[in-house]
């Protein structure tokens, strides 16, 4: 157990270093530097050169990388020249919105996929199963952004049940009950759009897993001993099938990263995905690289958590 965990963490370190190198190269490839937007245009060429020299931008690349990485570890992600504030502060404002969106989405994913998967697996080849399988089949082929647009069109505009943009009603007092309610109302439609597409994989996994376990010898034994059907399912089958699902939430993070970008753009929801697109369009590259780095690290950590939890749940993984 510990051996696996430590080995898994050791694998992660070169991944993070590689990621940071890749992002450093990206940052260096970007046209122009932060100075061109920051200083007075009348500054002479020599002074600019001197500032560059002082900032260490003429050093060899490995030295620059080391300095950059040192700043990163200390939590300094640079300055946004578009918003004129430190990147960390800027991201902090948006982080909370994306966090809530992801959290509600994850809860919805589990709320939807577990019952559907269980029904589909337990009563396989009935009309209910066919309906659910049809949903997963179409859900797999539907691009998230099309689904998001159609949801917004139908429920946001046509029926008008949900607000069509933003994260909260303007003019609300933070902390009050109606503020929270308004936030939730703004969250629901984007979260549902993300979740209904995101559940597909989990439903299919759970269905296959249950159908597979149903025919195992130990289930036949349990039935032969006269265990009631509910006990067979709750104690024997689901125990085996549900734990891996619970461990998947780390991998879900990777899936959510791409999803939040589309959904936040479509619902003009002020989160990190929208910030990323804004920063790319306005060429505010220090913000974009910081976001890629953060999302990359989030994905690496998500996979790490899932792998470790899976290894606890399923000992077969540890032996390798």
């Amino acid at each position: 157990m510990w051996k696996f965990t430590i080995r898994r963490i050791l694998i992660m370190i070169p991944q993070i270093i590689l990621l940071s190198v890749l992002i450093f190269i990206l940052a260096k490839m970007m046209p122009g530097d932060a100075l061109s937007g920051m200083v007075d245009p009348n500054t002479s060429h020599e002074t600019l050169e001197k500032i560059r020299e002082d900032l260490g931008w003429n050093d060899p690349w490995p030295v620059q990388y080391a300095n950059w990485a040192k700043d990163l570890i200390q939590g300094d992600l640079g300055q946004s020249f578009f918003y004129k504030m430190p990147v960390t502060e800027l991201i902090g404002q948006r982080l909370i919105n994306t966090f809530w969106l992801s959290l509600v989405t994850l809860i919805l994913i589990y709320l939807i996929s577990i019952p559907l998967g269980i029904i589909s697996g337990r009563y396989n080849n009935t009309w209910a199963d066919q309906l659910i399988t049809g949903y997963t089949y179409i859900g797999f082929a539907t691009p998230l952004f099309i689904f998001g647009l159609v949801m917004l069109w139908i429920f946001g505009y046509y029926f008008g049940w949900f607000p069509t943009g933003g994260s909260v009603e303007p003019g609300m007092e933070p902390g009050t009950f109606s503020y929270v309610l308004s936030k939730l109302k703004h969250l629901l439609l984007p979260a549902f759009s993300l979740a209904l597409i995101g559940t597909v994989g989990t439903v299919q996994y759970l269905r296959n897993e249950i159908i597979d376990t149903k025919q195992r010898d130990f289930i036949i034994t349990a039935r032969a001993k006269g265990a009631p059907e509910s006990r067979v399912y709750n104690r024997h089958i689901l125990r085996n099938s549900l734990l891996p699902i619970a461990a998947f939430f780390g991998y879900e993070i990777t899936g959510l990263i791409g999803g939040t970008i589309f959904i936040e753009m479509i619902y003009s929801y002020p989160g990190m995905g929208q910030l990323f697109m804004e920063s790319i369009v306005s060429r505010d590259y220090s913000v974009s690289t910081a976001l890629v780095l953060l999302y990359g690290i989030a994905a690496i950590l998500g996979a790490l958590i899932s792998d470790i939890v899976l290894s606890i749940v399923d000992p077969r993984i540890r032996i390798k």
Partner: protein, 302 residues
């Protein structure tokens, strides 16, 4: 010797004639009506789109006509016009052609990289496999969408070629992983050992002996990838980081729907493109699923 055991060479030949891979594929598709219908749909759409886009006047379609913006569908413009007064139907045809072409191009290119990478990793095994898998793991973990968008934004002289190269660079991992796991199994088999004993070069064994045995699963995987890649391309174009401005794609038409007024009142601009993407992806997947069943004798219907 009893009679049954004597097999004439003719009989032997007869039993050895397995239906060829392509024929199995074909039989499975014909048996599955949905897949057959999907295949016909794909062929018809592809043929229609490629032929009409040769006939259509491209300049006419992308010409801006400010007196005729946001026109609803009429006999002149079958699907109305967009914000620049350009004919949506014409853009839909060109867009479908572009989306399909780039989907196929990226699928083939990422397929080639994935096959070479996976074969090398699986065939040699050991340290090579270990190193290659760590590289693959790293690529798998990257936030795909963000990295691609960043590259698209900073690449100088952005063109369709660079776009497909960027997409390929981050999409070869799935097929590489599949080919690697199959190659790991194949390398233990006798025919590989026999070829090695005869002194056949590794390169030749990999590509002329092992590769043909993997071709059917590769075809299946690439078909399923094609569906995904069409979606990814239109998604990137939707965000404005796919095709360059002047070339319409299905995603470009959808991106007009980010304007709330277009989304709410002018369905003719974005809805046909949305339906077309959906149908294309579903059809390609249907065909892919049928092919997948064909590769597994236990699941075949035909």
């Amino acid at each position: 010797m009893d009679k049954e055991a004597v097999i004439t060479s003719e009989q032997l030949q007869e039993t050895n004639v397995n239906p060829s891979g392509l024929r199995i594929f074909w039989r499975e598709i014909v048996r599955d009506k949905l897949a057959l219908f999907s295949l016909i749909f794909i062929v018809v759409i592809t043929a229609f789109v490629f032929i009409t886009s040769e006939v259509l006047d491209y300049e006419e379609i992308v010409r801006v006509d400010l007196f005729n913006t946001h026109a609803p569908p009429s006999s002149d413009n079958w699907l109305g016009t967009d914000y620049g007064g350009r004919d949506v139907f014409g853009q839909l045809i060109i867009g479908t052609r572009n989306s399909l072409s780039i989907g196929i191009l990226v699928t083939v290119m990422s397929g080639i990289i994935g096959i070479v990478f996976g074969l090398t990793s699986g065939y040699f095994g050991g340290t090579v496999d270990n190193v290659f898998m760590r590289i693959l793991d790293f690529f798998m973990i990257l936030p795909f969408l963000m990295i691609v968008i960043t590259f698209v934004a900073i690449v100088p002289k952005y063109s369709i070629i660079s776009f497909s190269l960027i997409m390929t660079a981050f999409l070869w991992m799935g097929i590489a992983r599949l080919v690697r796991s199959k190659a790991l199994q194949e390398r233990e088999l006798d025919y590989v050992n026999a070829a090695k004993t005869l002194g056949t070069s590794n390169f030749k064994i990999m590509f002329t002996h092992v590769f043909p045995n993997l071709s059917s699963i590769i075809i299946v995987n690439m078909t399923l990838n094609l569906a995904g890649n069409i979606g990814i391309e239109s998604g990137l174009s939707f965000l404005g980081f796919g095709f360059p401005e002047s070339t319409p794609s299905l995603g470009t038409l959808l991106s007009y729907a980010t304007n709330p007024a277009t989304l709410e009142y002018r369905w003719w601009i974005w809805l046909p493109a949305a339906i077309l993407i959906l149908l294309l992806m579903l059809s390609v997947r249907n065909v892919g699923e049928a092919l997948k069943r064909a590769t597994d004798a236990r699941q075949r219907r035909g």
